[in-house]
Amino acid sequence: MTVMPAKQADKHVSWRGQAESAEADRTSAEVDDAASIKELRSQSRKLLGSMIRPHKKAIAFLCGILLVQNFTSMATPLLVMFGIDNAIPAIRDRGDYSVLIGIAVAFAVVSVVKYVCVRLYIAQSAKVGNAMLFALRNRVFRKFQDLSVSFHERFTSGRVTARQSSDMESIREMTENGVDDLVLAGLNVITITVVMLVIDPRLAAVTLLTFPLMILLGRWFNKVSTLAYRRARETVALLIVYFVESMGGVRAVQAYRREERDRELFAGLNTDNRFAQAKGHQQNAVMSGGMRGIGHLATVVVLVFGGWQVMQGNTEVGVLAAFLLYMKRFFDPLNELVQFYNVLQSATSALEKISGVLDEKVEVAEPEEPRSIDHPRGELRFDNVRFQYREDQVVLPGLDLRIPGGQTMALVGATGAGKTTIAKLVSRFYDPKAGTVSLDGVDLRDLTERDLRENIVMITQENFLFNGTIAENIELGKPGAGRERIIEAAKVVGAHEFIDALPEGYDTHVRKRGGRLSAGQRQLVVFARAFLADPRVLILDEATSSLDIPSERLVQRALRTILADRTAIIIAHRLSTVEIADRVLVLEHGRIIEDGHPNELIDHGGEYATLHRQWEDSLV
């Protein structure tokens, strides 16, 4: 359940602000009309099925172990009765110890069998459970990697993390605890029902009358707790989203003394989550009380009815006594099981969330019949490309553009003119709403991810560094490139000097998000990474903004060499970077208003000439 009560929703809007759509942070499967909820249920069942399928044999084996275990558990009281009834008279009457020895041997066997069963079961079930989780984790991770950037922007990293941490944790808890109890209790119910039917069908029938009550109780719990646990999955995700984000931005929190407000907001989410989590458990408490009550009710009814039967001479006292003992053994495990139901419900909700992710349509999908490019020239073409992020705001109304292979083209224009959008379309973060973007005549949508990324690499604005060493971060450009090539790449972009000066050089750990380095240094590392990737088409989106003049100078020089034989799209507000381009495109509201060689445009006296003059002035 993802609908928040109106009051709470309001409270969130006040500080969280209004998102573009209410569905922003959900997978499309999570819309909450009744049909979708049902659909989600069935999807999560299918997912569970697909998780279990590869382990069918192992699970059958586990069930076998549990059957044997159940059998030995049943055997223990029988052996006791048999021993008391037969071994004692044999010794007393005939001095014959053979029966007793037989019993002793039987007990030894039962103990050993129990030992083997429990040991095998725990070891095997851990292997199966962990293997299932391992497969699921990988599936979910890969799915998130496949999903488009726009999905991620909507869904947020916190939620991605929540699905892969706390939801997985819920499922792990289920696989680790109590599946055996569930099966054993099931077996137990069946066995004891049979035994009771054999002992006294009429009394058994009376006992079985409580079944409908139990089913009603179970259905009630199932219904209410499904809602509660779904909501709990949601509140914990919100909590995680907030936690991840505010810990990521802890510098800003501290610098702006935001701690108190931050704590308040977190406390709000924490409390929401606390009540949401508690709700399911409270319902479970009601169910557990109910189950106990039903058990006692059954005892009372059997006692009255059975007592009456005994008085009527229809049944023996011994039979009634035995029957009541079995009844206790019938209800006790069920009472234990109620608690496991909690875990089960929680895991089911988590599974629903995960199946929602796995079923999410990949907006930027791999082609079914990919085409390949053998000798890429790097010619890019936009044919009547239309694009918008939101229905009402067209960013590119219909762009026609041809960038010949090897050309370096700079994009200039005000914020919102569509520069970054063009870059994102070329690197296929998004697909155009209409028209085509093609590389050497092949629609980007017909290229495999591999081919596309081998040929087109973009350096984004964010200069993202991964947890690891500097060398590892550069190496991402071309995994497997040796240390020499990494150093070479760093030298070309002018990063070698500062890296070399670090205490452990290329093996210096950059710390979380590259916190060890300055923004300019991070930018140089990212540059080296892209250089190492050596693509046909290189896109630089504000890739030099944090560099100081000496570094930029080095980068400019490097760019001249790097870009000489490849296609490049440069977005930069520093005209020093723009001027290395062969061609400048001035954009306004997604349309090309000027197009030509930089010098040409300066002479032409249009928008670019004005910008250039301003820049010249700023240098003085």
Binding site: I122, F141, Q145, E153, A267, S427, E449, E472, D548
Partner: protein
């Protein structure tokens, strides 16, 4: 090269903040679990009531079977229907009481446990907020997240489930043992003797399971970290097409987690399996000796039957104790992991006797005296004795090459880092003698990389001054040329940040600048605040910013000659010291290093060189 691993590194040994990778000693783990009592204290009355209910619940559960026995032996055997009704009436009443007790105590148990968990989470969060940025740079968010979610969950589950269960089991075991001794003490000795191997197995279990659980939980944090990082870095990953590589790396982490999980369970499998078997064997032994005793006339059949029946009732609690112990172990490891964070002292905090300062009385003189700074793991300092005096109301620009320590230097006045040597004085007082909260309201820092939160524009703007009114916000937006926010779908109420509209780098930077301006601090520290702006916007911002800077002391990191215009004087940071300090024109004439770093000529010459 170690390309296959991008995980928490083994930093140098001096690095005391690095998450421990070793298992805790058993005693410290227990102590840490015990330390949670601080969070239980506010709930002591509720917990006392809860435990009373638990005990009553056990009593009510145990009272019913004897009554059933009485009913069979009494009224039913005597064919006394009226008597039967009376006893059954009692049973029904007791049963109802038992059910209600069960319901209400479990209700209370779970509600209280959730409340305690939430309190601990809030406490942990508050502590994390206070920890210095150095800590946060080193700890992966996933590891922190695991502590705040799954570890606290484990502790809660133990207190709400395992512990109650353990105590009920122990209670049952004791009661049954008492009954056994009462029936036949010699046979009870056999049962008691079986406790010896149980104890030995349990001890061994603790030794092996604790580190195994710890290593699994640590790895689970690594997996979360990998998931988080790959989500945050999705653009970088996609831009390079490294999805498959990341997936392969993730798979490695996940496989490690799987293996550690299996390893943990294997340890459990080796010990728990003994529990049931030993208890069953003890029943066998009692049966054998008991039968002999009965045959020899030293015991009645009824007593032996009763004895063995009671022993059968012991099976379940003993069997379950393995499970309870595992839970207990996991809770101990979890507590240990949680207290690892709690025990990390914030490196930057108020000194005893720290003074409060009043914003209105601050003149804003900022003096750096022989300030040094170096990372713990680097013997070479980044700052090697910075001396700098910023007069009240003056704007000083900091220039220097990439990596010269500019960003480090400007993180010091608001104490986001503390110098490792020397001191910084604000109006003559060492800033470490001022209250931290106070200091940060006087000194405001805007970082180069704007951190925006997934909140409304308004909330982001008013970050440093929650009481700012509409006019303050508008004024700040004007200064930063960030009026574009009015064109967003919901104006100032639009959600931005990762979760909402994605803004361009320039837009983010302008918002961050506006945010700093809103605070109206006595000392404004700006780390390259205009790097992502285009020339036109930069000019407009500079003009407006000049007004703001006139009223405050300011430190501004600059990369561009254009930004230098904001400053009264410029300090050149070179090799960890202020190599030159003066007016831009003076430095251009006197300092070749300065010319190298900041000469417009170079920027222009670059262009000419390149376009030539």
């Amino acid at each position: 090269m170690g390309s296959e691993r991008l995980k928490t590194p083994e930093l140098s040994e001096t690095d005391d903040l690095e998450p421990q990778r070793s298992a805790p000693a058993r005693t410290t783990a227990l102590t840490n679990l015990w330390r949670i009592k601080k969070y239980l204290y506010p709930y002591r009355f509720r917990l006392a009531l809860l435990w009373t209910m638990v005990l009553l619940n056990i009593a009510s559960g145990l009272a019913i079977p004897p009554l059933v026995g009485r009913a069979i032996d009494g009224p039913i055997a005597d064919r006394d229907m009226r008597g039967l009704w009376i006893i059954v009436g009692f049973i029904a009443l007791l049963g109802a009481a038992d059910a209600i007790l069960q319901l209400s105590r479990r209700y209370m148990q779970t509600t209280t446990a959730m409340a305690i968990e939430a309190d601990m989470r809030a406490g942990l969060y508050e502590h994390l907020q206070r920890l210095h940025t150095g800590f946060h740079d080193r700890w992966q968010t996933g590891q922190l997240l695991a502590r705040v979610t799954s570890d606290l969950g484990m502790i809660r589950r133990f207190f709400a489930g395992g512990l109650v269960f353990a105590i009920t089991s122990i209670g049952m075991i004791l009661i049954i043992m008492g009954q056994l001794v009462f029936i036949e003490w010699r046979l009870a000795l056999i049962v008691a003797a079986s406790a010896v191997p149980l104890f030995l197995i349990g001890r061994k279990f603790f030794k092996g399971y604790l580190p195994a659980a710890r290593s699994e939980q640590d790895q689970s944090g690594e997996v979360s970290s990998a998931a988080e990082e790959s989500a945050l870095g999705i653009r970088a990953i996609k831009a390079l097409g490294r999805g498959p590589l990341m997936a392969a790396r993730f798979e490695k982490e996940a496989a490690e987690l799987r293996d550690r999980g299996i390893n943990k369970s294997l340890i459990a499998s080796r010990s728990w399996s003994g529990y049931d078997a030993i208890a069953t064997a003890a029943i066998g032994a009692v049966l054998v000796f008991g039968s002999v005793m009965v045959a020899e006339g030293r015991m009645t059949v009824g007593d032996l039957t009763a004895f063995v029946m009671l022993q059968l009732a012991l099976l379940w609690p003993i069997e379950a104790s393995g499970w309870v112990m595992a839970h207990g172990n996991e809770a101990m490891t979890a507590a240990d992991r949680v207290y690892e964070v709690f025990d990390t002292e914030p490196a930057i905090k108020d000194r005893p006797g720290a003074k409060a300062i009043d914003r209105s009385e601050v003149r804003g003189e900022l003096v750096f005296e022989d300030v040094r700074f170096g990372y713990e793991d680097d013997s070479r300092d980044i700052l090697r004795g910075v001396d700098l005096r910023v007069k009240p109301g003056e704007t000083v620009a900091i220039a220097g090459k990439t990596g010269s320590g500019k960003s480090t230097l400007v993180s010091l006045p608001s104490r986001l880092n503390d110098p490792t040597g020397g001191r910084i004085l604000l109006d003559g007082t060492d800033i470490r003698d001022l209250r931290l909260a106070n200091l940060r309201s006087v000194v405001t820092t805007a970082f180069e990389e704007a951190t925006l939160f997934s909140m409304s524009v308004r909330e982001n703007l008013a970050l440093g001054r929650p009481d700012a009114d509409e006019a303050d916000l508008e004024a700040a937006l004007r200064v930063a040329q960030a009026e574009f926010v009015h064109d967003l779908p919901y104006g100032l109420d639009t959600r931005i940040g990762e979760q909402g509209l994605s803004l361009s780098g320039g837009q983010r930077q302008r918002l961050a600048l506006a945010r700093a301006v809103v605070v109206r601090p006595a000392v404004l520290v700006l780390d390259d605040p205009l790097s992502a702006l285009d020339v036109h916007t930069e000019e407009l911002v500079e003009r407006a910013l000049a007004q703001v800077l006139r009223e405050t002391t300011a430190l501004v990191v600059v990369h561009r000659p254009s930004t230098v215009a904001l400053a009264d004087r410029v300090a050149l940071l070179h090799e960890g010291r202020i190599a030159a300090f003066g007016k831009h024109s003076e430095l251009m004439a006197q300092s070749p290093e300065y010319v190298d770093v900041l000469s417009a000529e170079f920027e222009r010459s670059t262009v000419e060189e390149v376009s030539a």
